[in-house]
């Protein structure tokens, strides 16, 4: 506004440009599907009036890879490597719900040591996922450097995962009743080193971002939504917790060994983008707490100790709870008993669920993925109505939607 008045307009005929009849009606703008800020391929049909968004319609399905049909055409074991791609930023959670669904149907018992490994890997994965969110969210708001910092720490987590599973993003590590292999020697030490290192890093990140006036201007009071609306729309995870509801599967229905560790569920107060940011940053600190406790409490301790005890003939070291897999099953010919269950897990984005129906054949009869992002995205039009267009990326970024999980 001030720019326009400062421009030299004396040489122009007075008032010509002001009197010109401008069509001030609504304009439909197509955003995506190929757009970096959509974190995947999402199309938003946006109706704007000036800079105010009147309506927004997300169009999804550009990343649909028929994961659910694939489950019905191959055996459960053959299907397993492909499910990393359902939500590739936190693939351990995909595996966890799938494997746990089958374990519940078949009544397979998971050794305690393995449950702790699952807990540690999932919490590390939560940090990695939140870090990517942290980087891209700030990038959406125009800050480039947090992206590089976040990726540096994310690489450290991926190096840990690479030692453990052989892959940096597509792990395929869990197995029915356990996991692929025990941890490498010294892996727990590496996880602790990461925790020590990252605790200082996250202080640095918060020092850069949390009180940054530009960041505050872009996020405080933007995208405010109350908890009842979010719950009615099926929104879960940090997005809901930012509005003050402490809904967390890890506390409410503890799976793995979450009832044996102490941690808090951070919640926001105002339900705006800033609170959702604070919740996720606090969650990373809580994850560090969980990892530290889990490393201390894991039955059997480091693999090197366990191997030494076994070599020395210590019978207690061969206990079933210290094995990698509780019950050995032949994965290639395994036929799950008929049954059905829906397992949910607290993924970095909310309730991730796998509704599995088996019918006694090696294949799944039906495998339905309940992605947290799918439900979380439905609330975007509601949040954007009447907001300014530049708030779109702040609000969309703060919901933390990952499109592969939406489209499956």
């Amino acid at each position: 506004m001030s720019m326009a008045t400062e421009q030299p307009t004396q040489s122009l005929p007075q008032g010509v440009y002001l009197e010109k009849d401008i069509d001030a009606g609504e304009l439909t703008v197509n955003i995506g599907p190929q757009h970096p800020s959509t974190h995947g391929v999402l199309r938003l049909i946006t109706t704007i009036d000036g800079e105010v968004v009147r309506d927004i319609e997300p169009v999804i399905g550009y990343l649909h890879r028929s994961k659910e049909k694939m489950a019905e055409s191959r055996s459960l074991f053959q299907y397993q490597p492909t499910i990393d791609r359902v939500e590739y930023l936190s693939a351990f959670f995909d595996h966890y719900v799938f494997v746990t669904s089958l374990e519940q149907i078949a009544g397979l018992k998971v050794p305690k040591r393995m449950q702790y490994v699952r807990m540690i890997t999932m919490e590390l994965n939560r940090i990695a996922s939140h870090l990517l969110w942290f980087g891209t969210f700030l990038l959406d708001l125009g800050a480039t450097s947090p992206m590089f910092y976040a990726f540096r720490d994310r690489e450290k987590i991926f190096s840990l995962f690479e030692q453990l599973t052989g892959a940096r993003m597509m792990y395929n590590y869990y197995r029915f009743g356990g996991a692929n292999a025990d941890m490498p020697e010294g892996w727990l030490e590496g996880a602790l080193d990461f925790c020590d290192d990252f605790e200082q890093r996250i202080d640095e990140y918060e020092a850069i971002v949390t009180k940054n006036p530009i960041f505050l201007d872009r996020t405080v009071g933007v995208g405010v939504v109350d908890a009842e609306t979010l719950i009615a729309h099926g929104v879960t995870g940090p997005t809901l917790r930012g509005s003050g509801v402490a809904l967390d599967q890890r506390k409410d229905n503890p799976y793995c060994c979450y009832d044996e560790v102490t941690f808090d569920v951070p919640v926001g107060q105002n339900g705006d983008c800033y609170d959702r940011y604070l919740v996720r940053m606090a969650e990373m600190r809580e994850s560090l707490k969980i990892i530290r406790q889990a490393v201390r409490q894991i039955p059997g301790g480091d693999t090197a100790d366990l191997m030494r005890r076994r070599a020395e003939g210590d019978e207690a070291a061969n206990d079933i709870e210290l094995q990698i897999a509780g019950q050995k099953i032949n994965l290639l010919t395994y036929k799950a008993p008929p049954g059905e269950v829906m397992t949910t897990v607290e993924s970095p984005r909310g309730f991730l669920g796998c509704y599995l129906i088996t019918d006694g054949t090696p294949k799944a009869y039906r495998c339905k993925w309940r992605g947290a992002s799918f439900s979380n995205l439905t609330v975007l039009p509601l949040l954007m109505k009447g907001r300014l267009f530049p708030d779109l990326m702040a609000i969309f970024g703060s919901i933390d939607v990952i499109l592969p999980e939406v489209d499956r």
């Binding site: 399905g61 055409s73 669904s101 099926g234 929104v235 409410d252 439900s375 439905t378």
Partner: protein, 181 residues
């Protein structure tokens, strides 16, 4: 001599009569009874049918398609099931089923509601979050949700023919593009 065949005969029919009964008992566990939510629905004048609980022990109720919306309203208002996790279509080869997974953020309880039929009332007015889930079930299974504000395809392209997750929809389906060539 005459006693022996009688004795042999006697146990045989009795065995035969007992075996099917035992088999039936073994094959079909005792019919499930209505749980807390099922009784709540029954008290509201609806006719829920109890189904066996799932592998995690979650109560499962089958509701008649015509009563689905009333049942969902009762469950939301009286049993505090405020969070609809998902609507999953299932093709049972003879019928289509919509499976509603409910969760209560207050009591932390879970519930599974099933309704058979390819034409069901929409529950968008009960849980607004059902919108996309019902569109997905329509897209992939062809279940029509009456009263849905915007029932169109969501994952597949708008001009797609057929409903891909149905059991009769296979890779050699003539409607698929690569089979036309």
């Amino acid at each position: 001599m005459s006693d022996e065949p009688k004795e042999n005969d006697k146990p045989k029919p009795s065995d035969g009569a007992e075996k099917p009964a035992k088999k039936a008992e073994a094959a079909a566990p005792p019919p499930p009874e209505l749980g807390v939510c099922g009784k709540l629905l029954e008290g509201a004048g609806l006719k829920p049918v109890a189904l066996p609980a799932d592998a995690a022990g979650t109560e499962t109720v089958q509701v008649d398609g015509g009563q689905l919306k009333q049942a969902c309203e009762r469950l939301r208002d009286d049993a505090q099931f405020d969070l609809l996790l998902s609507v999953s279509g299932v093709d049972n080869k003879t019928t289509l089923t919509a499976v509603y997974h409910l969760y209560s953020t207050k009591t932390k309880a879970k519930l599974v509601v099933k309704a058979n039929g390819d034409k069901l009332p929409s529950v968008v007015s009960v849980w607004p979050g059902a919108d996309w889930h019902e569109r997905e079930a329509y897209d992939l299974f062809g279940i029509q949700f009456d009263g849905h504000p915007n029932l169109k395809r969501i994952l597949m392209p708008d001009d797609w023919v057929g409903h891909p997750l149905r059991k009769d929809y296979t890779v050699d389906d003539p409607r698929l593009v690569w089979n036309e060539r």
